[in-house]
């Protein structure tokens, strides 16, 4: 009897839509919106999606595990170079290249995780920068693999499923990227809500307490770094596949720092925050840098200061607030 009542009490509301379905709908809608707003600038959008994957990847370790890192582009860049080389070596199937990028990212993530999560606070941050700089220096030196400062060019992926070729307008690349982002986002939603995902958040809140419920903190953080590596690696792979070039900027410190800024802007510790932050930042940058090539960084800075002052938990917290207000207004109406 009580069991029955409990189940009823917990039954989902009438118009309940599972989180994953909502995520599919929202990413598809955003994809369609992007296509309508920037039909002639799909290259910008595909780049935006690739960076969004880097920001999502960063969110997993920084937002969900509390790991401070300014070297996350190492994962993104290394996998972009690996994918570029794989393609130049004749493995041009885009799905295979994505897989190659994911594996390269996972390896890079696990290695970074093993090093970085051994420490906490400032030493951790400095170590992450060191890893990033080391990779950037290697990318510059190993020019036979990376093309050095000229970059790695001539990457031309084959047809998707052997049917859809990458066209010069970037339509195929865009649809491909939206699909990849959608799948990754849905999978990540499941992961952050899994017991493992909850445990990572618990470790971020209080790692001693997490140990005192029996958690093995270090292996969990390394594992999350590996997952993050897969996501960042897919981002890097998309970058190589869509642009056909991989430059030193993809492993650089600025890329890492920018990703962190986007994450904080949107709201760390929420996948939606990572998504919103990277879209808003890049669209803002796109418009403002075109309108005022000299002072756009100042305006980006002003936007950031405004967000940090008025919504320290990121834009996503404003979204939540707005949804709450709307819901309460709707409830008040008969």
């Amino acid at each position: 009897m009580t069991d029955r009542a409990m189940v009823d009490g917990m039954s989902p509301p009438r118009f309940f839509v599972p989180l994953e379905l909502r995520a599919v709908a929202i990413t598809l809608a955003l994809g369609a919106l992007g296509y309508t707003l920037f039909p002639d600038d799909l290259a910008f959008l595909t780049r935006l999606i690739s960076i969004t994957l880097l920001v999502l990847s960063l969110d997993l370790v920084t937002g969900y595990c509390g790991v401070a890192t300014l070297g996350h582009a190492a994962i993104y860049g290394v996998s972009a170079y690996v994918v570029g080389n794989a393609c130049l070596a004749g493995h041009s199937d885009p799905l295979l290249l994505l897989l190659v990028g994911a594996v390269a990212g996972a390896v890079m993530g696990l290695v970074s995780g093993l090093l970085v999560t051994r420490f906490k606070g400032l030493p951790q941050l400095v170590l992450s920068i060191a890893v990033g700089q080391l990779i950037a220096a290697l990318a510059n030196k190993l020019s036979s693999l990376t093309g050095g400062s000229d970059g790695l060019s001539g990457i031309s992926p084959g047809r998707i499923f052997g049917v859809y070729a990458f066209d010069m307008y970037g339509r195929t690349g865009y649809v491909f990227s939206v699909a990849v982002l959608m799948v990754v986002f849905v999978v990540l939603l499941r992961i952050v809500h899994s017991p493992f995902g909850l445990l990572c958040q618990a470790i971020k809140d209080d790692s001693l307490r997490a140990r005192m419920i029996g958690a093995r903190v270090y292996p969990r953080l390394v594992l999350m770094y590996g997952v993050s590596g897969v996501v960042g690696g897919i981002g890097g792979a998309l970058n190589a596949i869509n642009t056909g070039v991989v430059g030193l900027d993809s492993v650089g410190f600025e890329r890492s720092a920018e990703a962190l800024v986007m994450l904080v802007l949107g709201g760390a510790g929420s996948l939606w925050g990572a998504l919103i932050g990277s879209i808003v930042f890049q669209v803002f940058e796109h418009y403002v840098s075109a309108a005022n090539p000299f002072h756009w960084m100042t305006m980006v800075g002003a936007l950031l200061i405004a967000v940090v002052l008025f919504a320290p938990k990121g834009l996503v917290s404003l979204g939540g607030l707005l949804a709450g207000r709307t819901a309460s207004v709707l409830r008040r109406r008969p």
């Binding site: 995902g197 909850l198 307490r209 140990r211 005192m212």
Partner: protein, 255 residues
């Protein structure tokens, strides 16, 4: 002879030149209720940290159900059933009340390796966290964020997490300190209702609670164990009176 669940053998703990725990030995058997008292700075919390594995003793050994766990990490001791609560609550602030307890349940069941499924839905997990919250009378707060709880409610949750881990040995570090009387009576009830076969070691300043709870009292002063025995005898023990109860009694007398 009753089976010893927790045993300390000549445990000493020093920080630099300062000896905070000095050659402490005692054992606690199945079902025992033991209170650890002593003046502030006597080394009680340090001793709990040594037992729980947060600190490694400078000398001596900690045995759990006959096994030497001195070199084992915290998490292995938790797996073996050694659970503690904290003097100042430590909770997972970005999770809900239910998630805090559910996570403990899932950790105990080895489910936190699970990277892909939804955790809270499993009926066995759900039953357990609901029961732990119900025992402490905070089931109605299940969906709240921890940051929205009053301090007393946080203490109840801290204890609920401890219960959900199904302890064999439970270390309670001043469970009722700083808690308003309504919540503290819930805490005391929950402690009274703990499964009779587990061993409980409680640090407590409130002597009424100590006398109500404990069948045996350990007194720590200046890092040394100066008394262990019947609660009824503790007040008559000269050294204890001098070290602790004397000042307590004097303070009471003066006020």
């Amino acid at each position: 002879m009753s089976q010893s669940l927790l045993e300390l053998r000549n445990v000493s703990m020093s920080f630099g030149g300062m000896r905070v725990n000095d050659d402490i030995s005692f054992s606690i058997g199945k079902g025992e209720r033991v209170a650890l008292i002593g003046p502030n700075g006597a080394g009680k919390t340090t001793l709990v940290n040594v037992i729980s594995g947060d600190l490694t003793p400078s000398q001596g050994a900690v045995h759990l159900a006959g096994v030497d766990v001195t070199a084992l990490p915290i998490s292995d001791r938790v797996d073996a059933g050694l659970i503690r609560t904290f003097q100042i609550t430590r909770l997972f602030k970005s999770l809900t009340v239910a998630q805090n307890v559910a996570l403990a349940v899932m950790q105990r069941k080895g489910l936190t390796r699970n990277i892909f499924s939804s955790p809270m839905d499993r009926p066995d997990v759900r039953r357990e966290w609901e029961r732990a919250l119900g025992t402490l009378g905070i089931a109605h707060l299940a969906d709240r964020q921890v940051s929205q709880l009053a301090y007393g409610q946080q203490r109840l949750l801290d204890l609920a997490i401890g219960l959900a881990l199904e302890p064999k040995v439970l270390l309670l570090d001043e469970p009722a300190a700083g808690v308003p009387s309504e919540e503290s009576s819930k805490i005391i009830e929950a402690i009274d209702r703990l499964p009779s076969d587990i061993a409980v070691l409680m640090i407590e300043h409130d002597m009424d609670l100590v006398f109500r709870f404990a069948r045996r009292v350990l007194v720590l002063a200046n890092g040394k164990l100066i008394f262990q025995g019947d609660p009824a005898e503790v007040t008559h023990h000269q050294e204890v009176r001098r070290a602790y109860l004397g000042s307590y009694a004097d303070a009471r007398h003066a006020s």
